[in-house]
Symmetry: C3
Subunit: 360 residues, 3 copies
């Protein structure tokens, strides 16, 4: 776009160099006072953090069940204000973040799309973000461009008044809070069977481009004895970077295009869309790959304790008739997004002690 050409002179020195560094070398930059400040990459989460966050989400969920508990939650952060900056369409991530804020008493501003923004007057994206930071205490952003949330946090951390940035999905790769809700769902659903450690998980669909299955695969290094089965058409196989990562961390995996054969042998099945949303026209995608759909008749073939997940929205990947089976966990998984995001915000603003104190 011409606008970007126009604003190239307004560059931030040092960004390109920072951006090129390996993720591991950047993690400290997004911490403050010994804890998470910005949440940009799934790589920022270790096992201790994941366990603590799941425990916190459990407590928030329990408190929210009663009026007195809900009031307690809403009095934790009424002095904080959040900005939801969602340039890309999103229902689930937006609403779960907004309602997570509401749960904790934060007031919320939003900007969806760029049409109401000053960008129409030629403002740079960095200036727009600094403007948001002028008025609020927390920015959640979702953007089609890879590295956008990271740049946002990088810019703000150099100003007089940095505010935490949470990555609500940035380009094709990173969506760290989706990974959090997936982990929380697996831990909750496996509560009676010893948690996520030692479980066999199948990931099904477009593994090549699906950022949820990619992030989740990375996080498996935090769990002991997990094994993965990648189920996809040949053209949508998991990329080599993830497979190298798994080999390096000693996480066993297999690959197959035979969905039905996998069903009886796993503890969780993570279905994903085979989609085309990063292409210019979704109508181009006419192939729906019915061999990778979970249908009513498959319920008889999976284990009685199997957990059926999907990041939603779904198209045909799971038949509606499956929803009523107790093993269908995807609607609970969706709602978990609100609980775990509330836990994350409570953590960022150091409200967890007040929450845990209720259960002491």
């Amino acid at each position: 776009m011409e606008r970007f050409a126009e604003t190239t002179r307004q560059t931030y020195e040092g960004w390109e160099e920072f951006y090129r560094k390996p993720v591991d070398e950047k993690l400290d930059f997004f911490r403050k006072d010994g804890r998470l400040f910005d949440v940009i990459f799934a790589q920022q989460f270790d096992r201790r953090f994941l366990d603590e966050l799941c425990r916190l989400a459990d407590k928030i969920r329990l408190l929210a069940k009663t009026k007195s508990g809900a009031l307690l939650l809403s009095r934790l952060l009424p002095h904080k204000r959040a900005m939801l900056y969602f340039v890309q369409p999103s229902t689930r991530t937006f609403l779960s973040f907004q309602n997570a804020c509401y749960l904790l008493g934060l007031r919320v501003s939003e900007s969806r799309g760029t049409s109401t923004s000053s960008e129409v007057k030629g403002e740079s994206p960095e200036d727009t973000i600094r403007t948001f930071a002028s008025y609020v205490d927390l920015i959640v952003c979702r953007h089609p461009e890879a590295g956008f949330a990271e740049k946002t946090a990088w810019v703000l951390n150099q100003t007089e008044r940095p505010v935490p940035v949470l990555n609500g999905g940035s380009g094709p790769d990173q969506h760290p809070t989706q990974a959090l809700l997936d982990i929380y769902t697996l831990e909750r659903e496996f509560q009676a069977t010893g948690g996520l450690d030692g479980k066999r998980i199948a990931m099904v669909g477009d593994l090549k481009r699906g950022r949820t299955v990619r992030s989740l695969s990375y996080l498996m290094k935090n769990y002991r004895g997990v094994s993965l089965t990648f189920v996809s058409p040949e053209v949508f196989r998991m990329k080599d970077d993830i497979k190298q990562f798994l080999r390096k961390h000693g996480i066993p995996f297999t690959e197959t295009d035979d969905f039905e054969s996998v069903l009886p042998h796993v503890d969780a099945i993570y279905m994903t869309r085979i989609q085309n949303e990063y292409a210019s026209d979704p109508r181009n995608e006419t192939e729906t790959y019915p061999d990778f759909h979970f249908r009513r008749e498959h319920l008889a073939r999976i284990s009685p304790h199997c957990v059926l997940m999907h990041p939603l929205p779904r198209r045909y990947e799971i038949e509606v008739a499956v929803d009523k089976d107790p093993r269908a966990a995807y609607w609970r998984q969706e709602r978990n997004g609100m609980w775990i995001r509330a836990a994350l915000i409570a953590h960022i603003f150091r409200a967890e002690e007040e929450i845990l104190a209720e259960f002491a």
Copy 2:
């Protein structure tokens, strides 16, 4: 649209059969624990309910006049969150619901139009609604499609976590909360003259398509001794279904196209737009029917206690100069929408006792 063709496989079994049932047979389905749960049809309201709701709205209105009363109201439901899902443009219904929620302390999320929604990724409308229900405690929806709110409530009532659905206007026929505010306005304006029982009401304009006058006519069966006068051009006469209903319930009515002759003989005049909004292009409607407009000079011809109503927005049906006359009740009527909707939400969440206790 192609999208709908694509998703037809994702059907909910039993809906078609349910939808075809007569309204009277479906009412129980939308009740829970002996009281209203979903509000879909005006037929769900009986006289006792209408009287109680009007009384509750009165109390809410009184409390809201003072800071202490307003604070009391705002502490009733701060633990609840609402979703306003408005696919159709709406100013009044949206804002009055939103501010009714604010009055009672609810936090509000909104989705207007479908552009920011996951429907662009091929999600079914039912899944979108279930997603809303994952994060909130109440859904208000407005939709151009007949039966949409009903289907929404029907789907949710079969899930683990149903939340109440309020119909904020669904297709050409049902808009039950508009009927509530009209009843509340009539009762309030007739307070000094014994209430709505026994009054003569003229309905003017497009009676054929106007859903407000249709719903209001249905509700007249709850009142004693009311008589109706339908005033419209020949082409916009009240449809036979309503006239049969009135005959069945012994409610006298007359029909005429002579607006001026009716003026002196009625206790209330309900003006409506003669509009074309369900047609493809509103510009096609060049006929404005000036013989059915209420002008300044008509004020001298109506009774000193006559109540002049309009659901708004208006175009030319009532001259601006009429607004200052004390009998012009339409701006109060508009504001009543907020009070009666707040009363409805308070009722749904069983907060009425706390409100009434303030006046004990």
Copy 3:
């Protein structure tokens, strides 16, 4: 537009006559009980009011730094509801008003653009505004049409239930709360050097059309010993009306197109965009006037206490590398918009005594 032609019959008598009066004769109309009710023109502010408002903004800013102070603020106006009616794109004004409301506990509804509004059904803008007033206690409006906010306030003041109207920018001329934040910034930045009185201020850029520099020039009559330097290309010189006003009030000013020569000799430099946003296509403006841009190398040439301001958004008028210099006040200026607007709303609703009492 045809719509306006259609609704001309729905006129409000007396408006045209009122609108033509000189501003000075209209000020009383927008006051109530001896204080500001509607905020339409920068001419409504006198020195005493400006001083009090700056002091109030200071207190609000201090309180907001702690949780207990923030809670105190949020309990001032939780019984009030605001409507932000922004027909024109705006990021800063919108967000600062919204977060100012949040700071004081108000609940906020918004309407951005006209697409979701009833105007599509042919409603007059006056009726739309009356509708907002039915549900809320405060209306902030921003509109491309000159006089819109004034008309809005004029219409409401004749109804049973007027609510205060704050002008968030109306046409090419008036943007009174921007002037407030500029004054507040100058007073804050000059705190160590005796405040705004006696200072030399350069205004740079498009002085002909820029409403911020025009409003700020008007307000200078409230300060003693201020002198102005207008720096612009020949085609964008300050208009005669302002120059006559300054001469009448004995405020010295000079004009030049030599930006660099001015730098060492002023206490504040107010940069503005040279823009084309009121023209039909912003792409037409290819001239960027680099001689009127503030670049890194200029920092060495300005006084150590010089205050560098910009209403933002910027394009190239100030190089990003300048941001880190402590004299770059524009990001603080932006945030001041939230504090001063919160002060204004607190003033309108008479909450200032509760705030000041905290510091007694």
